[in-house]
Amino acid sequence: MIFNRFTRGPRRCVEAAVEEARMLGHDSIGDEDLLLGILRADEGTAAEALSSLGVTLGAARNESEGMSSEALSSIGISLEEVRREAGDAFDISIPEDRRIPFSPRAKNALEQALREAVRLRHNYIGTEHVLLGILGNEDGTAVRMLARLGVSPEALEDRLFETMPRYEGEDD
């Protein structure tokens, strides 16, 4: 798809997103996994902006797991109890031999990253554009996960624009 237009940063963050999704048992790669991927790859403007606002990989994973376990308890199921009953064999992660597809939200965020780069007249696509693409979906899981960590999309965007490399020339 559009991966060939990405620089190293976003490529690494997409690879890391797949690893996060696999580990957390996400049977599709969601927009929140892209966010986790940015944190896991830990390079580039986006990771800097996130960490400057106190968003760590560990905290974000916790929120992701917390959201799933709350979703289950809303229908009366305790993940902890199921885990205890099933014993050591219970492993939420997705087996290595199973492919994990991208969710429509994640695809959309990646496409949006491209549009953000064009809009900003940047001649590359970096992790900052991916993060802007993720933040574009207010209803997405990533934005709600960030809200639980006390970070609003606006604050994060402001921070990104402060740290983003600027290009001479046609920008005004």
């Binding site: 048992g25 199921i77 064999a89 939420i92």
Partner: protein
């Protein structure tokens, strides 16, 4: 918009939470099936017997679980009867 006031049941008042509970349940179900099949295999149940209780074909169970479980117990007591 959504101020995250915890609606207790993912019902009509919050369709998204209701739908998300389905996603979480599906993921948990997959992990639970994998765990229970593994548990049965470890105590010596055959694929045929596991499949029978799950109500699916032996081929289906084998295709979905054998590779993963064998990889984990390879070399050990390959307890397949």
């Amino acid at each position: 918009m959504d101020k995250n006031t915890r609606t207790r049941v993912g019902g009509l008042d919050d369709p998204r939470e209701g739908l998300e509970s389905v996603v979480a349940l599906r993921r948990m179900l997959e992990a639970l099936e994998a765990a229970q099949v593994e548990n049965a295999f470890v105590v010596g149940w055959s694929w045929a017997r596991i499949a029978e209780v799950l109500g699916v074909s032996k081929q289906a169970v084998h295709k979905k679980h054998a590779k993963r479980i064998r990889a984990r117990y390879s070399g050990g007591e390959g307890s397949r009867r």
